[in-house]
Symmetry: C2
């Protein structure tokens, strides 16, 4: 087993988050790498010295674009192993043209987003946040059976938009519960949906039939504002929309207008722009749970990304193909 | 198959919550019962007329105590099928002395409480409520990796106090996740804990080793304030305590004092008293999620209680034993 030369390219403080001490040891057994050298500017003299020898770039958040000029100074480069999700930010067309192998740890993001979504679906059906707010506002007994007669995780319908890796994992995690699950995905047919144990619907029908809708579609030009004013109006009264994917998938002005009527609730983890202006009504609407893009890997979960990247380097060093390769053709339908 | 005479004894508006129209039809196929007669006072003339013939009392919340005087007017009574959880409120010693069969739908409460707990564990490890509050307060970008370096559902330790039906179901629901689970229960040995896939601990050790602690012990004189000031002080800095069981299990003054320091967080669904006085600090502490006793069956989930009770009457009518009987000996260790 060879020990390829690798260089870390990411924001300077990231390696300590990505790698536990044990993981860092393992990285050094599978690659020849100096973990104290973290390149965040690829054009410096130090970076060029590293790149001159590197067979692998182990990239993370904050890795700058690897363009033709950079590639020229990296004659030995054969692979970019990304300890993160999307690769469009730093893997440029020049990389694909040169046939650089690319791997992603996007799968390590699947668990956290799916787990967060599951928790929010269970609490959404229960109207937990609405009840907490009602209790705190009134500070007297709340007649729950009379005021919330339709809540509960029993024979409710959950609509999953996008049978992506994350959407499929949410579907899997929903199995132990008494819930009916619908899915909408242009790449899925009815038989495949049935294998997932769910029913396929057109998006409009899914919007109209679901008690909770959670979106797990990729952010692409073709999916921008896929939930527009017309589709949001299809939601049932009292329905809950969950967005842990990307803000661009929802027409945010239309969503705010719909939420302002109090007709629906929302759990919003992603917005446009990503940090909302201080006067956004989403900070204060009582029927909104707003979080600062936290569903994905965070804190110790980030170590899954690091562990996944080391696994890929180990495979590469053993002459095996990546378990999670990215091909240029994939870019049209992934985030 | 005989069709036993049954009478509904519960608060007047409850049957419409417990039984869907289809369930009400099914109830009438398994028992001779007038669903429009709902007895909430057992000593009225109408109640006595019903009781004179009843072989089964189908009880629910608000059923008054079935004491010796009531039993005298119910010579045919053989069973009390409770479409609810605890039976101590209405099944008196006189019932046990006469050998009345008792069944509970407590199991139907297991799913909702366990589901709610699962959701709160996943969000607790993620510090989701703290992050939501931080974002709403600041309305600027939050450096999540720096400010929340230890969050995440990855190799965290969850401590379950009480391998009750609910505690065991929580343990089961935690299986798909990358979490280590500890359990403390005086009725469980290490081998039984391992069969559940978890590790047994003394309660003090569980408190000290867990990132999240969820309590699922019965409320008994012997468990009152089992989480006292000393045990709460054993919790790690940043740990989260979840109580969906009963307020009496926790020394609430000690908990409020610990929470006021900001050292730990809490998810509190049950308190003493059950509706807190308007000046309770629990309404306003930023590290507390306070809900008005909502984890159990609510809304449409209540129909699970009704469905379960009808199943039991069906078994009784077919001459089979109850699937969920209560024996007088059980009362010492159940809520």
């Amino acid at each position: 087993m060879s020990k390829p030369e690798a260089v870390l390219a990411m924001q300077p403080d990231l390696p300590q988050r990505l790698f536990s001490p044990a993981a860092l040891d393992r990285l050094q057994t599978v690659a020849s790498v100096d973990p104290d050298v973290v390149v965040s500017e690829l054009s410096t003299a130090e970076a060029r010295a590293c790149l001159a020898r590197a067979e692998i770039i182990l990239s993370g958040w904050g890795c700058p674009p690897i363009d033709a000029a950079i590639l020229e100074s990296a004659p030995a480069l054969r692979a970019i192993v990304h300890a993160g999700g999307g690769v469009k930010g730093h893997v440029t067309p020049a990389c694909w043209e040169r046939g650089i192998l690319v791997s992603t740890a996007a799968r390590a993001n699947v668990g956290p987003v799916a787990e967060y979504t599951l928790a929010m679906i269970l609490l959404a059906n229960k109207a937990a946040h609405r009840m907490a707010r009602t209790y705190a506002d009134r500070r007297v007994a709340v007649d729950l059976l009379t005021e919330f007669p339709t809540v509960g995780n029993y024979r409710k319908t959950v609509g999953i938009i996008g049978a992506s890796r994350i959407g499929s994992r949410v579907i899997e995690l929903l199995r132990p519960f008494d819930l009916d699950v619908l899915v909408s995905d242009p790449y899925l047919d009815g038989a495949a949906a049935n294998r997932l144990g769910v029913e396929l619907r057109e998006l409009d029908d899914l919007m109209a039939e679901s008690d909770v809708v959670s979106i797990h579609a990729p952010a692409l030009p073709s999916t921008r504002h896929m939930l527009d004013a017309r589709r949001l109006a299809l939601l049932r009264d009292g329905a809950v929309l969950i967005n842990t994917a990307r803000g661009s998938l929802v027409d945010q002005d239309a969503l705010v207008a719909e939420l302002a009527t109090g007709r629906i609730d929302a759990v919003i983890d992603v917005t446009e722009p990503e940090v909302l202006p201080p006067d956004s009504p989403l900070y204060e609407l009582p029927n909104v749970v707003l979080t600062p893009h936290i569903a994905g890997a965070l804190g110790v979960e980030v170590r899954r990304l690091g562990d996944s990247a080391i696994d890929e380097i180990e495979r590469y060093a053993a002459g095996e193909p990546f378990a999670h390769p990215v091909a240029v053709a994939d870019l049209e339908r992934i985030a």
